[in-house]
Symmetry: C2
Subunit: 355 residues, 2 copies
């Protein structure tokens, strides 16, 4: 975020403001600006393999808003549960519960979330499953191909949906990006993306790419007018995407984050060689596995050094067993947000607090 492309964004804003049609300043429709949906359809197909024509895109103000819309639409259709990953953000589980949906957690093994355990039958059957297939948050693995297929198979046979949260899909370092799960079956997968990792959370812009038969229900949940998303930012992002500025920015950020990741890995290898780092093939954070029972004390030490770190335990779903006997504790280290000037000091402090 220290690298928000202020000059390029302003250039896009100037162009967008100049070109904006009269009606763009009025109450927008709940789908979001057509210019942005067209630009996203093109970009998402190209960069993420998403089957995304503009008619099935609904603009929202970030993932949480998209999740609330989807939860309302599912609940209105009679859904009563959405399965979730055993580690994740509890604020999302809370949003689902506030919409009247239970959030049973799948289980985990060393290959990631066990989507093959999804059950197509039974009264407690969830209506959807929430997944972070490209880069599990926070553990960091990519969902293996057989488990991607299992999730889609489950959705097909049960009439359920997969909700794919592609929060950092553009940031893969070690090989070609893992394509979006949505490409496997656009009628059974909801694809969700935002600018929060690629540009800045402060923009409050995200998008849902929906199965055709879900679009009307989500628009109904959003309401008569687009009361959530400002037209000017939408138009600016559209211009930013179509001008190529977005691709350039993502490339630059990928290099920057990759460099930070490499610095993190090198510093740890040098100063804390016992600590295993995982989840680093992609994304903006790494998981540092800690000796069992040390997570809390490391977090306390980190806080004393002014480091904002989270332990894996704070992302554990109540259904999920503690990774007790033998399973390591872990530290979630985000490396995107510090400014360049803060980064070196943060890295040094991190190495100090590790056991």
């Amino acid at each position: 975020m220290g690298s928000f492309p202020r000059a390029d964004w302003l250039r896009a804003a100037r162009r967008a403001l100049t070109d904006a049609p009269h009606e763009a300043f009025g109450y927008g429709g709940p789908r979001g600006r057509p210019e942005l949906r067209a630009a996203l359809a093109d970009y998402l197909a190209r960069a993420r393999g998403v089957h995304a024509d503009p008619d099935r895109i609904v603009v929202c103000s970030g993932f949480q808003h998209g999740l609330m819309l989807l939860a309302a639409a599912l609940h209105a259709r009679g859904a009563r549960a959405v399965a979730v990953e055993p580690y994740g953000l509890d604020v999302y589980w809370r949003r689902l519960r506030e919409a009247g949906l239970r959030t049973p957690a799948l289980t985990l093994d060393e290959r990631g979330t066990r989507t093959e355990d999804l059950d197509a039958r039974g009264p407690g059957r969830p209506a959807a499953v929430y997944l972070t297939p490209a880069h599990q948050f926070p553990l960091g693995g990519a969902l293996p191909p057989d488990r991607r297929a299992a999730a889609v198979d489950w959705a097909r046979s049960s009439g359920g949906l997969v909700l794919e949260d592609d929060y950092d899909g553009e940031f893969r370092y070690d090989r070609q990006p893992v394509g979006a799960l949505q490409g496997l079956d656009p009628e059974r997968v909801v694809y969700a993306g935002t600018t929060s990792k690629s540009l800045a959370p402060g923009l409050r812009l995200g998008w849902l790419v929906l199965p055709r038969d879900l679009v009307a229900d989500v628009l109904r949940a959003k309401g008569d007018a687009d009361w959530a998303c400002g037209a000017l930012d939408q138009l600016t992002l559209a211009e930013f995407l179509t001008s190529g500025a977005y691709d350039r920015h993502v490339r630059a950020m990928r290099l920057r984050y990759r460099r930070r990741r490499d610095q993190l890995v090198a510093a740890l290898a040098d100063r804390a060689p016992e600590v295993r780092v995982s989840g680093i093939a992609a994304g903006l954070h790494a998981v540092l596995e800690l000796p069992p029972g040390t997570e809390r004390s490391v977090l306390r030490a980190a806080a004393l050094h002014g480091l904002q770190l989270q332990g894996l335990d704070s992302y554990r779903h109540p259904d999920a067993p503690r990774r007790a006997s033998g399973g390591p504790d872990g530290l979630v280290v985000g490396y995107a947000t510090p400014t360049d000037s803060a980064w070196t000091g943060a890295l040094d402090a991190l190495c100090r607090v590790l056991p």
Copy 2:
């Protein structure tokens, strides 16, 4: 909206983007940007007589969002009803009902909404009353001083709240602006404003000025982060306000709308002298009183001429009696939105369809 100040807005955006601190690009807090709340506090005190220190301001994405936040906060406190005006926007009544609140309507006489009928006792007592004191929507009158006082007295004696929707308070033509009701008692009145009339609905920016003891509840309803309002537009509006560009724009728009109003009144006097025009001392719309029983046929004729008009009946609350015997039908004519090129033709078409 044909007059959105594109160049001035862009100038403010450049300044805002240049000056924005690093953290502005991150997840914002639910109150909204401090720069914007400070600028609004100053502006609202100066222009509308609102007692508005920044700590009691919550930024939202327009009035409807603010209403939803407030409704959720009131419901969480145990409220079960909000009294409304007998004419208004049914989408607001719907939002209140969706939050679990009944929406009983007050009654109307020739002086406006009868706030003196609010009852401080009884089990059906509303927790709040929604009012448009400066310029009743859609009828167009200002709430007389004794009825402003009655609403505040009711709130004080009942522990209730007044929700003041100041949607077009800046646009008063014939005398000094009617100050905000909130100035009478900031602890019993919620003041709500937006940029939808003064700048453009497409911005999706509004604000609530709250009694101190309601701030925490509204923030809770808004959630942990500001998932609704983009930081850049907030910073740009702050700069737009503090630089004086907002005042200049409002002055220019006031002249422009006043000229349109005068053209409307002159055209009607010339070509439809029987039609009485009301609600024209302020705002962006007028009410044309029609002979009883003609509203529907005039609306049909207007639609055939491509005019987007609403009849008064479409704003009538289910509780409110039809303005039958003797009471005229009416046409609500907005004069802000047409471009200059469309305006003359629209005015001509309007005169044609009048009886």
